[in-house]
């Protein structure tokens, strides 16, 4: 039995590609296909992580909760696109997570209506229904901001993910839908729908870090240098994503399965570089009361707690 194990191990060692001793990190990511969650994929394709002696294994999830849970359990080291409120909630309960960077400051989400609908701008939505994904999500905060900032009488309605929302809009179950690019750009081009508003139309959203990068506390303590190196590579990847290199658009288009023109529009029209730059968590002062209202945390976090929770890594 033992001999067999050795044999198998030897065979595996021989079969494996020449062993290069890269540091490995595991990460969960929400929303596969979004520009902001494609950083690791694109950076890896360009060999940036390899250059830093890193190997990243990514697992895609269907939501912020599922992204966070494995981080807390320690089965992955990093979590991407975790809702800021969710991260705060977990921390407040004593869960071993720390915010190590911003994932999205402001949002690229946009709201749209059917082309045949009379709704052209947010002002026209009075008395109509307007979609957000689920309770407690960032899209709900944005819709609430739309309504309060513009004094609208529109009715918010939970419609789930962009696919379900598009169907709801096209079958008149809801008047204004939401989507996150590149989703829906094809329909916009085809003239089926038109954009009514962008998330950044809500003043409050522009300065809010709505999604963050989290790390398991244990992993952070033991492999601080690896994680710092990772964040360095992450920043380099973002720099590369906004460079003139046409390869990045090609890779992204292939990753998501859209034409390159659409891929380029996603970056140029919806995602300013500042949106995905990880160095600063913004808008804590407006996020905190919201977290309390939505029952994510029982009371606001103290400054001491905040400085323990937020530990930006690898910032120059």
């Amino acid at each position: 039995m033992k001999r067999l194990t050795i044999l198998v191990a030897a065979a595996l060692a021989l079969a494996a590609p020449p062993a290069w001793s890269a540091d490995q990190l595991k990460a969960t990511l929400g929303q596969r296909g979004n520009w902001d969650t494609a950083v690791i994929h694109l950076g890896t394709k360009a060999g940036i992580f390899k250059k830093h002696d890193l190997e990243i294994e990514t697992v895609y999830t269907s939501g912020s909760g599922e992204t966070l849970q494995p981080v807390i359990a320690g089965s992955v080291d990093l979590g991407f696109a975790v809702g800021t409120l969710g991260a705060m909630a977990a921390y407040a309960k004593g869960a071993p997570v720390r915010i190590i960077g911003a994932e999205a400051t402001g949002a690229a989400d946009y709201w749209y209506a059917k082309t045949s609908s009379p709704i052209k701008t947010l002002k026209d939505t009075d008395g109509h229904t307007i979609a957000f994904s689920t309770n407690g999500s960032s899209t709900q905060s944005i819709v609430r901001a739309f309504i309060s900032e513009n004094k609208l009488t529109a009715k918010p309605m939970s419609t789930g993910n962009p696919s379900a929302t598009l169907t709801a809009v096209m079958t008149d179950q809801v008047d204004v839908g939401w989507a996150s690019p590149p989703f829906g750009l094809k329909e916009i081009d085809a003239g089926q729908i038109r954009v009514v508003a962008k998330a950044t139309d809500a003043a409050i959203v522009r300065g809010q870090t709505i999604r963050v990068i989290v790390a398991n506390t244990d992993a952070l303590a033991k492999r601080r240098d690896v994680i710092a190196r990772f964040m360095q590579a992450y920043r380099e990847s973002i720099d590369y994503m906004y460079s003139d290199n046409p390869q990045v658009i090609k890779d992204y288009a292939e990753f998501v399965g859209v034409p390159e023109s659409v891929a380029k529009r996603v970056r140029d029209d919806f995602f300013p570089k500042a949106l995905i730059w990880p160095d600063e968590i913004k808008g804590i002062d407006t996020l905190m009361p919201e977290a309390v209202t939505l029952k994510f945390i029982p009371e606001p976090l103290t400054p001491a707690q905040l400085s323990e929770l937020i530990q930006i890594q690898g910032k120059k």
Binding site: G63, G65, A73, A89, K93, A95, G136, G160, A168, T171
Partner: protein, 254 residues
């Protein structure tokens, strides 16, 4: 008398005792740090969360939503499931052609069609009800056929000897004889429906108790999440008891 009492009490005590012991052991293990308390909350915390979840998360309402969906699904199951079963039993050709299909459908992972239902019915209670219905209907159809076809020949002959019409024969002999089996099918179908209803609520984050679990998990309210899971189990317990009683009442005395 005392013999009967001990006969029911001893197993109950053993089962319940084990459950209590298991809970206590879990509490001890978590307190000792052997099980990660950020993964499994203390059972005492879960118990404490019950009151809070009931009060703050509108459990009665959510319960009603899930119950309403289940009721609709049950209605559709009874109507179409038994209806199709009777139809297939009466039209022999149709039965020969489709019975194996229905059986195959019973084993197919219909819940995976939830995106399809979402796109057809929207993110609404209708989707959830229809998912429950689709999951449960093959069992009802199959058991209805089984019950009708399993009616003892001699009972039908008795009916004929009394010169009952086809319609009378169906209502007076076939249906009563098949009822216990049909109910078994209805119960089975309802179990599948219930699984799918709560499951889809959880998956699409909409509706009653299933959504609550998702919501609480998203907020990282672990004791609350577990308390909500306990509520769902409670629903299945209630359901089990109710249907078990009805089934016993329907079953002919052996």
């Amino acid at each position: 008398m005392t013999g009967r009492a001990t006969r029911t009490f001893v197993p109950f005590a053993l089962g319940f005792g084990t459950l209590v012991l298991f809970t206590l052991a879990l509490e001890a293990l978590i307190r000792a740090g052997l099980v990660n308390r950020f993964i499994v909350p203390l059972p005492s915390q879960i118990a404490g969360a019950f009151g809070r979840v009931i009060a703050e998360e509108d459990i009665p309402h959510r319960f009603l939503v899930t119950a309403r969906e289940s009721l609709w699904a049950a209605l559709l199951l009874a109507l179409f499931g038994i209806g199709f079963g009777v139809l297939l039993y009466r039209v022999r050709l149709l039965r020969e052609a489709t019975e194996t299909w229905v059986a195959a459908l019973a084993s197919a992972p219909t819940v995976l069609m939830y995106p399809l239902f979402l796109v057809i019915f929207g993110r609404s209670e209708t989707t959830i009800i229809m998912m429950g219905f689709v999951a449960g209907v093959p069992a009802v159809i199959l058991k209805t056929i089984e019950g009708l076809a399993g009616t003892r020949r001699v009972l039908i002959d008795v009916g004929r000897s009394f010169k009952l019409s086809e319609v009378q024969l169906f209502w007076k002999i076939l249906l009563p004889a098949a009822l216990p089996t049909i109910f078994v099918g209805l119960r089975l179908g309802m179990i599948f429906a219930l699984i799918n209803i709560v499951g889809v609520e959880f998956l699409i984050n909409f509706g009653g108790l299933g959504q609550l679990i998702n919501d609480l998990a998203e907020r990282y309210d672990l004791p609350g999440t577990y308390a909500a899971i306990c509520f769902v189990i409670l629903v299945s317990v209630v359901f089990f008891f109710l249907t078990d009683r009805i089934e016993r009442w329907l079953r002919p005395v052996a």
